[in-house]
Amino acid sequence: MKSIFIIARRAAAAATLLASALSAHAANITLSNTMAFHNDVVQVDFTMAAAGSNVRIWTDSWFSGQNFDPGAALWARVGSDFSRLAEVDDDDTIAAGQGFYDTGFFLPALAAGNYRVTLVAAVNASNGNVLSQGFSYDRETPIPLALWNQPTYDPNVNDQKGGFWRLNLFGVSTANRVPTPGTGWLLALALPLLVWSTARRQR
């Protein structure tokens, strides 16, 4: 059953990826999708073509507990890995529309470069200062979010069972969700099919 979830999730992710691979200077980009399991890690790369000011990155998908409580980490590319700049569980002061448990970063000034944001279900914290060290839930058997009692949930209402997430990036140059290996495979499969389908329609 799990593999069906994964394939469906990754197919949806691939579609979103195709639609949201925007490229612009100082763009405002919103990415969204659904997280399926408690130890999923959503990874979004973004670039700063030039130093930027007042860069804001935030979630607004907690929806008073309708969806999981997100946590985020900000990483800077260093060689083939990423170095952690910050990790924030809750910050609802970044933009209007955030709920108490949403997260985000306000970056008054950010140097040009390549960055990555990771989005997890709290409290799946990063294991170390570099991304390749992984996250604290990595070795756990995936639990569907709908069946998981997140440590921060409210037992009185049994909330935070939804997997929807939305990440907003304000003032960046480009942003793309990083395909997981499975997503990459799907993309590799999907793109020729897309080309073939388009060509067939044009005929």
Binding site: A51, S53, S64, D69, G71, W75, A76, V78, S83, R84, L85, A86, E87, V88, D89, D90, D91, D92, T93, F100, Y101, F105, F106, L107, P108, A109, L110, A111, G113, A122, V123, A125, N129, S136, N149, Q150, P151, T152, D154, P155, N156, V157, N158
Partner: protein, 558 residues
Amino acid sequence: MGRPTKIIPLPAGTSRRGFFKRSGSAAAVLAVAPLAPLTTSAQPVAPFQHGVASGDPLADRVILWTRVSPAAGRGAVTVSYVVATDPGLTQVVQRGVAKTNPGRDFTIKVDPTGLRPGTTYYYRFTVDGQNSPIGRTRTLPAGATPRVRLAVVSCSNHAFGYFNAYRRIAERADLDAVIHLGDYFYEYGTGQYGNLRTPEPAVETVTLSDYRTRHAQYKRDADSQAMLRQHPLIAIWDDHEVTNDSWRDGAQNHQPGTEGDWGTRVNVALQAYYEWMPVRLPDVTKRRENQRAFTFGNLLELVMLEQRLSGRSQQLPATIPTPFGNGFVQTGAFADPARTLLGAPQEAWLANRLRTTGARWKFLGQGVMFAQIKLQAAPLAQGGGVFANSDQWDGYQPARDRVYAMFKGDANNAPVNNCVVLTGDIHSSWAADLTQDPNNPNTATGGYNAMTGEGSRAVEFVGTSVTSPGLADPTGSTAALLRSINPHFKYIQLTQRGYMLMDVTPDKTVGEWWFVDTVDSISNVQTFAAAYEAQNGSNRLTVSAQTTPRPNPPALAP
């Protein structure tokens, strides 16, 4: 249920302050521009003003509760907690994190699982580097269980005095749990019912803010904090947690014209209740259905009954004058079998629990008196007499008969023996044999022999209030008169306040009444008043003696 234990690194801060705290080696890629001013909040001076509590223990888990008092303007607050087997918290078995926010009135409730049965644990919360008091709790035993000791309380009205009974219970180290049978708090405003202490808010509680404020006041009480810190609580509400003489669709003390929609009031009262009480919701989609069961190994099955909001039919008026006030007889609407106190689903649930449990003793924890109280005596064959209080089970006799049917069994179900009803509500102390026809001395026709107890199907212990006032009866003459009309009562004390102590072993259940000398001031004086027991298989009460505490109980929390 909370996530099973795993030592998880506490995520970095709960605000932008936390973000910068973890900005480290790669800070150089961040800009050279000065950082924006941080939105810091002042540290709360006393983040755990409302103490800690635990409740609804099972064999492998127990609810841990606290409330954080943050600085104004705070949103999410992350709290860590630790559970250990020693009072010094050196033998840690679980760590975890939880969160709260203004939408939960900053209350915290976690339900750590994977605990060992019949084990005393100590726990503590931490927020922003500040620790809560250390709490102590205990899981339910499993398997062969030689003994259970429980304190039983009800009717704790802050405005009427000091919770000295709570303090005395806090000092007892050998208890498995404290049972609260309802009227944990009262809804009245200043001077409306008790004036020794001033209620907060000053008005009758109607709104969510009102109920939260009142709960907060009760949780700040030092004696309440002492008891809740030392023992797990198993609580059921009665009427005053919402308002007086409530039933499914209204209450005596609810006026829709000035106090709004009843359903709205119930919803906000229960929201505050669940926020502020260490109670586990059986079903979050049915918040009024709060009946739960607790299994103490093979010795005791405790069912806690919901008698106000899920199924109760409206109380009927008592209109027949008697020398003691108006009463009623079991005719007309009082005889309508459609009227219910529990509701059909809960009746079925109760029957199933009683018939299927493997435990020797079955306790029914509930609010209103099960035994009959008559103002004029008569056997059923002669009309049954005149009854006193239509808010009690007397006002729902057909429904009560259905519970008796569970006790007695039928062609398809064996009788259920060793049932003990625990009751609060009426601010006085009573012990009763439970029989459907107490004024009929002929046991061959379903009657009751007051000398031998023959005809009794179960027993009832009614605990007095923690503070709410009883009846002035300095000579005991009123109690004696009531006993003469109601021969199934073995003990009646109408004046004193305190608590009950239940001592359960395979051979017998003993109920003791302990009274405090006053609620008008803080006092350490308590007195053993009386004890009655039901022996295994007897289903009737006899005089008993004070039980001895367990030897070498686990240390109280420091």
